[in-house]
């Protein structure tokens, strides 16, 4: 990528066009690729996963004129190839992780707990009961307990697992937003 290259509205529109001719589908695809690139960088232990994902997207966007004519295949795979290069450069300058601030961590934990209480209150009673029941046991008791819940609901254990996880994920998102609001 040229050093003076910057992402413009036109180049971003071109990227969306390349991902899908339908604008809504393209936007969804863009978000999907971005979130998965973040996940990949995080799983590789990178400290700046979001920045690295955005850098990958910028580089792909800057190469669009070439890609349009020369590349045939799944766009996600092209992103993946570029992400590997970005990661290689990152490992050469791997930044030092900051030392944890225990006081701030403790305050953050208290705030998150208070937010969690508010977020759980926003769930429907069905969601609340399900998520609390699903996660309450430990070790072997947990397995039997979950089988029991699934059989009462008449669904497969994995369907229950996915359902409980989705509620938990929505809680985590809610807590994240609540903490951000509190920080403003």
């Amino acid at each position: 990528m040229k050093k003076d290259w910057v992402l413009t509205r036109e180049s971003f529109e071109a990227l969306l066009d390349w991902l899908d001719p339908n604008r809504d589908a393209a936007a969804l695809r863009y978000e999907t690729i971005r979130s998965r690139l973040i996940k990949i960088f995080a799983c590789r232990g990178c400290l700046e996963a979001e920045d690295l994902a955005d850098e990958t997207i910028n580089r792909v966007t800057s190469k669009l004129p070439e890609i349009y004519t020369n590349y045939t295949g799944e766009p996600a795979r092209y992103f993946y190839g570029v992400a590997n290069k970005v990661h290689l450069e990152y490992t050469r300058r791997r930044p030092v992780p900051p030392l944890p601030d225990q006081k701030a961590d403790c305050e953050q934990a208290e705030l998150e707990y208070a937010c969690l209480d508010r977020c759980v209150a926003k769930l429907t009673s069905e969601q609340r009961e399900l998520v609390l029941a699903y996660y309450q046991e430990e070790k072997h008791a947990k397995i039997e307990h979950r089988k029991l819940i699934a059989s009462r609901l008449g669904i497969a254990a994995n369907a229950l697992r996915i359902r409980a996880h989705r509620i938990r994920a929505s809680l985590q998102q809610c807590v994240k937003e609540c903490v951000q609001e509190a920080a403003v």
Partner: protein
């Protein structure tokens, strides 16, 4: 096509950084293109975190979890949330019965379990335990149960608050290369208090001659305690160096040696330096 069990194991290995490079590349391509694989990864991630917080992970996985998985701030954030969530569920389960609510069967269907008379499950329902008609026995039983609940809650609170692997205090030491093991007697002695979570070793170098560095920490018997690659470069007192973080729980009192290798662009590595030190308790 992988079975569910195989796929979950692959994901666990991926999250712990245990896949071979080729397997990792294959898995990441699937992660980018498959919604099912992505959702499964996020679920397994939560399950792994829960096992870690409940101290259910075997020692080698716990070590990989701390050195690899927890390196990413996103994952630290998830662990923080999971800690709060686990605490919340534990607190709620002491006051809520497991049944008595409608649990959704699908978006539109529900199965009705027997409901209590009020919206929120009664917290003092113990007194209405059917076989006990005499109120004196009822109150005695209630007092006993209350003592039990307080005791269990206190125990759970202590466990949850202490945290299985709190990062704890971070102690930083600067190590110079070249000391032999015998030199550790009077040389690099690191006094590590019991509340230390992480020992940060700043390994000094004469100069940066390699693209990246990797280190192995070995104990007095020559057993490898940890190996870490792509060590971050950091100047210490203006001198070049790299940083190796070690969980204090992995290094009881004794003599240790760090073997540092430099990696060349062609992928070959060469020995750069070694650092001997002794861990001692105050």
């Amino acid at each position: 096509m992988e079975t569910n069990g195989t796929q979950q194991q692959t994901i666990r290995d991926y999250l712990l950084g245990s896949l071979l490079a080729e397997q990792q590349a294959q898995f990441e391509e699937r992660l980018l293109t498959s919604d099912q694989v992505y959702e499964e990864l996020v679920i397994v991630e939560d399950e792994l975190i829960d096992e870690y917080l409940r101290e259910e992970l075997p020692a080698p996985e716990r070590e990989r979890f701390e050195s690899h998985f927890l390196a990413a701030p996103e994952h630290q954030e998830k662990v923080r949330f999971a800690r709060a969530f686990t605490k919340y569920v534990a607190a709620e389960s002491t006051v809520r019965p497991q049944e008595g609510a409608a649990i959704p069967l699908s978006e539109r269907e529900t199965i009705e379990f027997p409901k209590p008379t009020t919206g929120r499950p009664p917290k003092s329902g113990w007194l209405g335990f059917p076989p006990i008609r005499n109120p004196i026995y009822g109150y005695a039983l209630a007092a006993g149960v209350l003592l039990l609940v307080v005791g269990v809650s206190w125990f759970a609170w202590r466990n949850l608050n202490s945290g299985p692997r709190d990062p704890g205090r971070v102690l930083s030491f600067v190590l110079t290369p070249g000391l032999s093991r015998g030199d550790a007697e009077g040389g690099n002695r690191l006094t590590v208090p019991a509340d230390t979570g992480t020992i940060r070793l700043q390994l000094l170098l004469p100069e940066y001659r390699h693209e990246s560095y990797e280190a192995s920490l070995v104990d007095a018997e020559g057993r490898t305690v940890i190996t870490d690659r792509n060590l971050p470069k950091q100047l210490a007192n203006g001198q070049p160096g790299v940083v190796l973080d070690v969980s204090a729980s992995l290094v009881p009192a004794g003599d240790y040696r760090v073997k540092l290798n430099g990696l060349n662009p062609d992928g070959n590595s060469e020995s750069v330096a070694s650092y001997s030190f002794r861990i001692q308790k105050p």
